[in-house]
Amino acid sequence: MKAVVLGGTTGIGRAIAQQLAERGDSVFLMGLDEADLARSAADLKARHPRQENVGFAVCDLEHPDGFALALDTADKTLSNFDSVVVTAAMFASQDALEADVELTRRLVTVNFANTVVFCEHVRKRLLSRGGGRLAVFSSVAGDRGRKPVAIYGSSKGGLAVYLEALDHRFNAAGLSVLCVKPGFVKTGMTAGLKPPPFAGEPAQVARDVIRAMDRKKALIYTPRMWALVMLVIRSLPRFVMRKINF
């Protein structure tokens, strides 16, 4: 694989980049902070004896004008990437979002609108060279309108619909699109929240995602148990959803 990882400096994205690098795949990192990207690039290089210098570029999902340039750099460094992983996203609690409309605007723009724009850039590039792989992180929070994740969840739900459509539309042309729906994963994003049962570790989720990309799957829940949990939650009637605080 010649993979771009947007969000590859932290959390699940970091674990994906590390595991790809360890098995000898070429990785290009995108994220917010230049110095931090450089540290992560050094890490990836150390993880495999034949790993070459790992390239990186700043790419901010709040600034879509920068997407093309960042992807150009990736294309140049990797001599045309064939895979893209997007883990980058914003998170905020429902309370914080309800109290701050500007934060809400930013979050839904980053997680939905601008992520779609980023994917559109990627789609065009991959299709122009016969296809490739695109793996994007939605969330179990997008499966059902739920009280504690009303706004964040809706941004992820919208994204999941887009990814499904992308798969329907371009699969035949060689683009395999993977929509990743993690359950609770113990990363910086969820630090401070109490882990529920079946909480996952970033390394374990990364393994699942890479395997799904290798097998060209279109959708995964990870850790696996969450497929079952969400099956139940999706089937709960509305009057129950109105009552419970989950």
Partner: protein, 443 residues
């Protein structure tokens, strides 16, 4: 459903303390204002637990980047939260191995420095700290310094084995060992009693760079201390299989065993795993490195085998000068106290390291797992009195019950350590439940 229990942290022994940890990739951010760092929580007692619930604990395990690696010298620098599991996976295929490994790979680099861990090669390689070239530390006042044997040596040597009380370790530079292959040549021997065990241990140490073993100290009388001794070295290229050791998938211990189930879970597990497999008197051959270094890692969360009441490990070292007689007397006392178990890990240690509170000294180290019972304090007190009289000491990273006066009596280096602490953290802002108990820090 909305009932919120007070969040708890536990060490490996599972005795809980109220508290929460803040985790994050950026140690400089999460250690700011924190009073303790914590890695993977594999210390058994209260070393990694906060003194009070409101103390901020920084959980380091997401800070896991390798920042530099020199393929010629085997020196790497990494963030303190990287696990040994990760380090082994990355460096073994490249022909390098951690200079010292504890008996589990689920530890962090920072944790290995803070406990100055020792392994089966202590008699030749010393502790982990011996191989540390430099540390980057966030001090109690949030200033960040780089230290080494040349630069701020007092800080450097107080941090190695200092149980997190001098500062938060952010980055560590370590020199690894070259290995001839990623496989182990092991020779093991069944030994009928403790005298012979100690003699074999000494012979083994002369012939092999790595030794360790365990004895069954439940058996009394003449076969007291029958056991198995393991000695090993890295297999040569010709001995080793051509393929790398396969990554083994561990099982997870699925639930807590009821508290009455086993009084010595580890012992029973070991008996199953090792003793019965060892049919012949001696055995030799090439084995998987994980089987050699990390036999207990095949089952994740095996500490649940002790149920919810938790357990502790008592580990002490008795000086060589006290002779094998002291080891026998120790065992005898242990049996009389009712703390004996079918698994005592016994290993000889080489000379004391430079870490100011580093555990090993030249002599024999003994470690026993014990379920928590109402008599546990009495047992630990009595064993400690014996250890003090023999001129030995206990291992802080395993400890939960040692009294402050006992610790002082067994630790002639304590004043030097406290002086370093007074200089680098005069207000004693950094503290743990253990430092409150053992060093009298304010609660």
């Amino acid at each position: 459903m909305t009932l919120r229990a007070q969040p708890m942290l536990t060490g490996w022994g599972r005795l809980p303390a109220p508290g929460t940890e803040v985790i994050g990739e950026h140690l400089e951010t999460i250690t700011r204002g924190a009073v303790l760092s914590r890695g993977l929580g594999r210390s058994y007692g209260d070393s990694s637990l906060p003194a009070i619930a409101s103390d901020r604990v920084a959980g380091t395990r997401l800070a896991n980047r390798i920042l530099a690696f020199n393929g010629e010298t085997g020196v790497y620098r990494a963030e303190a939260g990287i696990s040994l599991l990760d380090l082994n996976r990355v460096f073994m295929p490249q022909g390098w191995f951690t200079p010292v490994t504890p008996g589990t790979k689920f530890v962090t680099l920072g944790g290995m420095v803070a406990s100055d861990v020792h392994g089966k090669n202590h008699h030749v390689a010393g502790c982990f700290g011996e191989h540390v070239r430099a540390l980057r530390i966030c001090l109690a006042d949030n200033n960040i310094v780089e230290c080494s044997a040349e630069q701020y040596p007092d800080l450097f040597y107080a941090t190695i084995g200092g149980m997190g009380l001098l500062g938060h370790i952010l980055e560590v530079e370590v020199a690894m060992h070259r290995i001839s292959s990623p496989w182990i040549w092991q020779e093991s021997e069944r030994v009928p009693n403790i005298q012979e065990y100690l003699a074999s241990l000494e012979r083994g140490a002369r012939a092999f760079p790595m030794t360790s073993g365990w004895i069954d100290c439940l058996n009394r009388g003449r076969s007291m201390g029958r056991g198995i001794l393991f000695a090993g070295r890295w297999a040569s290229k010709d001995e080793a299989p051509s393929e790398p050791p396969p990554e083994k998938k561990p099982l997870t211990f699925p639930f807590n065993l009821p508290n009455w189930a086993l009084n010595n879970f580890t012992g029973q597990m070991f008996n199953r795993l090792v003793y019965y497999k060892h049919a012949s008197k001696t055995a030799k051959g090439v084995i998987h490195p994980d089987g050699f270094f990390y036999p207990l890692d095949v089952i994740l969360e095996w500490n649940r085998g002790y149920g919810t009441r938790g357990f502790t490990q008592y580990q002490c070292v008795l000086p060589r000068a006290a002779g094998p007689k002291a080891v026998l007397e120790f065992m005898d006392r242990l049996t009389k106290l009712g703390g004996a178990s079918p698994l005592c890990v016994i290993k000889d240690c080489g000379p004391e390291g430079k870490g100011l509170l580093s555990f090993p000294l030249e002599g024999t180290s003994i470690a026993i797992d014990m379920a928590i019972s109402p008599s546990i304090q009495r047992i630990v007190d009595s064993l400690n009195e014996f250890v003090i009289a023999a001129g030995g000491r206990i291992y802080l990273t395993k400890d939960r019950f040692t009294r402050a006066d006992h610790f002082r009596a067994m630790e002639p280096r304590l004043d030097k350590f406290l002086a370093a602490r007074a200089k680098w953290d005069p207000k004693r802002r950094l503290r743990s439940a253990q430092s409150v108990r053992i060093l009298g820090d304010k609660e």
